[in-house]
């Protein structure tokens, strides 16, 4: 049953076509159409999984085109990694779409929302099953396009329109890197297939390292890694289920997936891996520290995503292939859960400022409970999902001798536990801080929350020592066997870190204990400002990149207006003037035309007579 894999992206695409064409007629039926499509895809993914277990593998649907001597196939990649992604994307995507039916109820562009979501799913699934760089790149751009459409879905809001543009332009920088990487790879090795990556790694050392770094730039753009992470927090302007989808299943997962997919390239040169790990570490720490002070419920989660993606990259970079992909999967579950919970909260209180919420636990029990489970999962409290995968990354970093990166990962874990607990304590506990009337969300929203909560809690076991690292074996992370050894000390350390973070947050936000001496607090004010302003990265970009570029644009605009346009208009004006001069020839008087005809006849007689009849 492996060879139904190529049908998986087809169903969401079909749903996209139906919804975009007949959305006006279908009205509220659009949601179920999209949900049904991704549910079918999920079932197909299960079949593919089954087929793969019984010995199936990648296959090709035929040759698409020939690049010189290299045939480019309509290949379908079926291996552990892609099946894992297929299952996660279709499963979480389906739940998010069910949730969206409730969340987007009454939106004037309800049908278009589901059309975009389905296209998003189709692009992502296509990306996952692509077996060569060209197909991957096509779907890669499709994902980028859909993220643009969905982030700026409420384009009436200027902030949303800007955020969509920012996401598009920022990821485009990464896409350029990826494109250059693809070109360079083809130029040196004459192959674009993922199947060949293992063989070609010999002999092209340095060039392949450059290719790897270029590919990683693309991945960094999509996965919001430093320094291209700026778009992700702004992407919170989109509808919350979209954020969930982007953060959990589709958009940002694509970057990590790309690195995992092209992992043989990175293994060629330690430098490439080092880059991945360092960038991942920087992103993880940077975003985590920003998240500790942010006051917007969705932005905290957004920075948390950047941070967690950083951890995945770090995991991949230190050689923990299985650890990184494992974290990608567990993160998909609990981050989707967290975003959907946040959406449920926002749906109830109509604000995103956490300091206006509070005491929601008693009002929204389902949401609050699931939110709590998600938080514990991401904080890494055993035995929830995040614990196992984070533990894997820490082990990988430690055992492969990356002491500094290990420190970074530990610190990030601590900060993660801290800011997530802060979020929970402020939003769900304490006293209501403003006059809100929260209510529990409808069943279409709470049921997906509950399902996701169960998975967020339990999905970690598939990669835990208790299950003999079944997941790691499945995605084929043989090289990290050392890292996946049961490591009691590491587990204890990881647990202690998480509990310490939660405890600190408990002290500060529930017991209101002043943990720092008074003098220290004022000294930390500067740091607080720095974090609140997100290290001024947006401002730096604005001053050094955006403004000069806009200045250049303005100059170009002037040139375009003054030189190019005038030139074109000048040509047009010249023709117009010439026509004005020639126009009187057409008098409209029949007799003038006839006279010209007679003159013509005379000329004809004169010349023909001379030439032919020699008069």
């Amino acid at each position: 049953m492996v060879n139904v894999a190529h049908l998986i992206p087809l169903f969401p695409f079909l749903a996209f076509l139906i919804n975009i064409a007949f959305g006006g007629k279908l009205k509220n039926a659009c949601g179920p159409v999209s949900v049904a499509a991704s549910a079918i895809s999920f079932v197909l993914a299960l079949f593919v999984y089954q087929g793969f277990r019984s010995g199936g593998g990648s296959y090709s649907l035929g040759t698409w085109l020939s690049l010189g001597d290299t045939p480019l196939n309509f290949g379908v990649m079926v291996d552990g990694l892609s099946i894992m992604m297929l299952l996660v994307v279709t499963f979480i995507g389906t739940l998010i779409q069910i949730y969206s039916i409730g969340y987007m109820q009454g939106d004037p562009r309800f049908s278009r929302y589901f059309a975009y979501i389905s296209l998003f799913m189709a692009s992502m699934l296509g990306l996952v099953i692509a077996d060569n760089f060209v197909m991957l790149y096509i779907f890669w751009e499709g994902v980028g396009l859909c993220s643009y459409l969905l982030i700026s879905f409420w384009f009436e809001k200027p902030a949303a329109a800007r955020a969509g543009l920012k996401a598009f332009v920022t990821t485009r920088i990464g896409d350029t890197g990826l494109f250059l990487g693809i070109l360079l790879l083809f130029f040196t090795t004459k192959t674009l297939s993922f199947h060949d990556l293992q063989q070609i790694s010999e002999g092209h050392g340095t060039v392949l390292a450059i290719v790897a770094v270029l590919v990683f730039i693309g991945a960094a753009g999509k996965s919001a890694q430093f320094p291209l992470h700026v778009w992700l927090p702004d992407a919170m302007e989109g509808p919350t289920p979209v954020s969930a989808l982007i953060h959990a299943a589709t958009m940002v997962a694509a970057g990590v997936y790309l690195v995992a997919r092209t992992y043989p390239l990175f293994l060629v040169d330690p430098f490439a891996l080092q880059t991945v790990a360092v960038i991942g570490g920087i992103s993880a720490l940077l975003a985590a520290s920003i998240a500790t002070v942010n006051n917007d419920i969705k932005r905290v989660l957004a920075y948390s995503t950047v941070s967690q993606l950083g951890l995945m990259m770090l995991g991949l970079g230190v050689g923990g292939y299985a650890a990184g992909t494992f974290h990608l999967m567990t993160h998909a579950f609990f981050k989707a859960l967290l975003f959907l919970c946040a959406g449920s909260v926002i749906h109830a209180v109509h604000t995103q400022d956490i300091w206006k919420m509070g005491g929601l636990f008693s009002k929204m029990r389902v949401t609050a409970t699931t939110f709590l489970i998600g938080t514990l999962a991401i904080a890494g409290v055993p035995p929830l999902a995040g614990f196992w995968s984070k533990d894997e990354i820490l082990s990988a970093a430690y055992q492969n001798g990356h002491t500094v990166l290990f420190g970074v990962a530990v610190l990030t874990s601590f900060l993660t536990a801290f800011y997530m607990s802060r979020l929970i304590f402020v939003v769900l506990f304490g006293k209501p801080r403003s006059n809100l009337h929260p209510h529990e969300s409808p069943a279409t929203m709470t049921v997906p929350l509950m399902i996701l909560a169960v998975f967020a809690a339990l999905v970690g076991f598939v990669g835990s020592p208790l299950a003999h690292h079944a997941f790691q074996g499945f995605v084929g992370g043989g090289e990290s066997s050392a890292a996946s050894q049961a490591n009691g000390g590491m587990m204890i350390l990881s647990t202690v870190i998480s509990l310490a973070g939660i405890g600190l947050a408990y002290l500060i936000y529930i017991l209101n204990v002043n943990v720092l001496p008074a003098g220290m607090l004022s000294r930390l004010n500067g740091l607080h400002q720095l974090l609140l302003n997100k290290y001024y990265i947006d401002e730096i970009y604005d001053a050094f990149l955006v403004q000069p570029f806009l200045g250049l644009c303005r100059i170009s605009y002037k040139i375009d207006l003054g030189v190019v346009d005038d030139l074109v208009n000048g040509v047009a004006r010249f023709v117009a003037a010439l026509s004005e001069f020639l126009r009187p020839m057409q008098t409209g008087l029949v007799q003038n035309y006839l006279l010209v005809q007679i003159v013509g006849l005379i000329i004809l007689i004169l010349t023909l007579g001379k030439l032919c009849f020699r008069y």
């Binding site: 008098t587 409209g588 007799q591």
Partner: protein
Amino acid sequence: MIPLSYIVALSAFLFCVGVFGVLTRRNAIGILMSVELILNAANINLVAFNRYSNGTDALGQVFSLFVIAIAAAGSVVGLVLIIAIYRNGKSIFVDKYDLMKW
């Protein structure tokens, strides 16, 4: 009898006078009259060549009969058109009707 070329010359003259009329008359009826002159010039030729040919075929005369019939049909339709135009625009001066330009 006189040489054929005399008759042909006469017909050529009549043709040129007709063309002149078509070119210069402002009145559409005048143009139609000039067209009749041109047709007559052609007819003269046909009859003359028929008379001056060797055979016993009546082609030339038959043809001029046809021309006369067609000319009659043509001038009938033409005159009706002129009257229709006159009814619309209160004028049959062709230089008033320059709608064909750009």
